[in-house]
């Protein structure tokens, strides 16, 4: 089941958010040894805000197995604050363009079709929020995986070796055609997002 959660401090989703931050800690710090901060086994940073959206996928036992973080690029992002030099002509700045970061899938389910479900959920979320484009910094392997998912990934900057892996800033369109293509590839017939948790008091016409 995939949950769409608005806000890093959403009081209605404390357990889900904690599980998501824990998965990020396990993947990025314990497994990939990224040099980033963590707090009591939870990984979060200044880009986890009340404006941030998260996709959080749970397995049958209720454990968080996949997540992705989505931030509008008209606010400070990893792109604008840390990796601005990786974008030719400056980082994207548009409320209709999301930056995708901290995409993580639990090690034990990586050879399953979770990647396809979370990709579909990301496009569904973009369509719900009226977002037309997504961008991020991706390793070449992940970029290829996204292209094979049906996304038309376009480099928007010079690639660079980071931790021995070629990384590049890239963007891709998020629309109904791409969603349909990705669903077909992963044999997904219906919506991937099953629950949406807005911040209390927030209203959104979806």
């Amino acid at each position: 089941m995939i949950h769409l959660i608005a806000g890093a401090t959403n009081p209605n989703c404390r357990e889900l958010l904690a599980g998501m931050f824990r998965l990020r800690h396990d993947v990025f710090i314990k497994e990939k040894h990224w040099n980033i901060k963590s707090y009591n086994g939870l990984e979060f940073d200044q880009f986890d805000t009340e404006e941030t959206l998260y996709l959080v996928e749970l397995d049958e036992a209720g454990a968080v197995v996949a997540t992705v973080r989505m931030n509008p690029t008209d606010r400070p992002t990893l792109f604008s604050e840390v990796f601005a030099d990786m974008c030719h002509g400056g980082p994207p700045k548009c409320p209709k363009t999301w930056e995708l970061t901290r995409g993580a899938i639990a090690q034990n389910v990586r050879k399953s079709l979770h990647f396809g479900r979370i990709e579909c959920a990301t496009i569904e979320a973009a369509l719900l929020w009226g977002v037309t484009k997504a961008c991020g910094i991706f390793g070449v392997d992940l970029l290829m995986k996204k292209m094979r998912c049906g996304l038309d990934a376009k480099p928007i900057g010079q690639p660079r070796m980071i931790d021995g892996e070629s990384h590049v800033a890239a963007e891709f369109a998020m629309n109904g055609d791409v969603l349909q293509r990705t669903r077909t590839l992963y044999r997904i017939t219906g919506p991937s997002i099953e629950q949406i948790h807005l911040m209390p008091g927030a209203r959104r016409a979806a």
Binding site: H88, K111, S112, L113, G116, V140, D141, L143, M144, K145, M147, R148, C149, G150, D152, K154, P155, I156, G157, Q158, P159, R160, M161, E165, S166, H167, V168, R181, T184, L185, Y186, R187
Partner: protein, 252 residues
């Protein structure tokens, strides 16, 4: 010999952007291979390969290349692929690396037959390069390989070349293979269980054949159902037959 004068330390963004647009907008594979060749030739890369590395009884993949004819003839005749550390590295799902790294390992192991491949390639003016193995998403093993003489393979140059290779492979794959459903990645045990399920064997029979318990077989079946997103093994078998996984399982 001085480092190839045509080699830029990296491929500048406008060139990458233009190549990316050509790849995504191409309607024929020729458009992509021509664009790729133009970028690579300008940087002293005279041998390249983009495609699958093997086949299961019948060719199910694709491959595009630019290889000096004399070297291609010699490579095939001498059955170099069986000993070529670069080819074997990609086939065995290694990571991205340079030919120099593969050669270092061969030297360390004292593998004379492997080193012969490097020595002969150098005679044809191909003494350095890099390899981008491609695996995952249920595909046959594949790779992108770029080679030439005294190539500039600084980290910046490698980053650009890996990106060029990735864009070329995925764009060519789209045109050749299309957007077919992506099969999940199965373990060897799961493939074996799939094969016997297709033969109509029960979990007990399959366990006896494979030398494992029926419970373990059921665990593999559960994993197969999860990976295919199905409630029943029959559905898994139908999907595996459609996406070619069953063919691979039967030929193990």
């Amino acid at each position: 010999m001085a480092q190839n004068e045509l080699s830029a330390s990296r491929i500048e963004f406008p060139v990458l952007q233009s190549f990316s647009e050509q790849c995504l907008g191409a309607t024929t594979t020729l458009e992509i291979t021509r664009a790729l060749d133009a970028i690579l030739q300008a940087r002293g890369i005279k041998q390249w390969y983009v495609g699958n590395l093997g086949f299961v009884n019948e060719w199910r993949g694709f491959g595009f290349d630019e290889i000096p004819p004399a070297w291609r003839k010699r490579y095939v005749e001498a059955e170099h692929a069986r000993f070529d550390p670069v080819f074997q590295h990609a086939l065995n799902q290694g990571g991205k690396t340079t030919w120099a790294q593969c050669k270092l390992i061969a030297e360390h192991l004292g593998d004379k037959r492997a080193l012969q491949v490097f020595d002969e390639a150098a005679e044809y003016g191909i003494d350095s390069g890099l390899i981008l193995p491609i695996h995952g998403l249920g595909d046959l093993p594949a790779a992108v390989s770029f080679g030439g003489e005294d190539l500039d393979l600084t980290p910046d140059a490698q980053a650009s070349l890996y990106l060029i290779g990735a864009l070329a492979y995925e764009s060519l794959r789209r045109l050749v293979v299309g957007f077919k459903p992506i099969p999940p990645l199965l373990t060897e045990r799961e493939l074996e269980v799939l094969r016997w399920a297709a033969e109509g064997k029960s979990a007990v029979d399959t366990g006896a054949i494979m030398g494992i318990s029926a419970f373990t077989v059921q665990d593999h079946q559960k994993s197969l159902r999860t990976k295919y997103g199905c409630a029943k093994m029959t559905q898994v078998l139908v999907l595996a037959a459609l996406d070619g996984t069953l063919l691979i399982a039967r030929q193990m």
